[in-house]
Point group: none
Chain length 74, copies 2
DNA sequence: CAGCACTCGGGTAATTAGGGGT
DNA sequence: AATGTCCTAATTACCCGAGTGC
């Protein structure tokens, strides 16, 4: 099997991102249109999103957050 | 160079291109049929795609961008 | 030669895009 | 300003059997 990956980042489909955020795919599309999300378009016009970008937004790592719940480092 | 590689450009299989775009290999075939992708056919009829072409499309460089990072110098 | 993974081809369901309205 | 829902059109994903590639 030629499972070579010529430098490609993992991408997510609108439905995937929408499911992760618990919103409608339409909303994700609006975020992409608003420039809040990096969207890569397929040759057919459909959008794909970077998994790293989405995960970072889910984690809430824009700049600095105050981890109040549980202190990671002792 | 010790490698005896005949001057050919790196070609990608449908599965590789599909993986890069996060789409189905069948979809890549559609793009080739639609003329959106340059497809090279093997003697058996299978398609091969140019890595440079695919990467350019992934980058989203239909015209020209201003790569601030590395100026090619002119 | 034999075998497996991948691709080909066509057809149908599911998803996405875009605009408009609440 | 932002989200969810409606509609239509386009694109994409999965089904099959046969052939190619190594």
């Amino acid at each position: 099997m030629s499972t070579r990956t010529p430098e490609s980042e993992p991408l997510l489909t609108p439905a995937e991102v929408a499911s992760m955020f618990r919103v409608d795919p339409k909303t994700v599309t609006r975020w992409a249109k608003a420039g809040k999300l990096t969207s890569i378009r397929t040759l057919g016009g459909h959008r794909r999103y970077r998994e790293a970008e989405v995960r970072a937004l889910l984690e809430g790592v824009p700049q600095q957050r105050t981890p109040e719940g549980g202190a990671p480092g002792a």
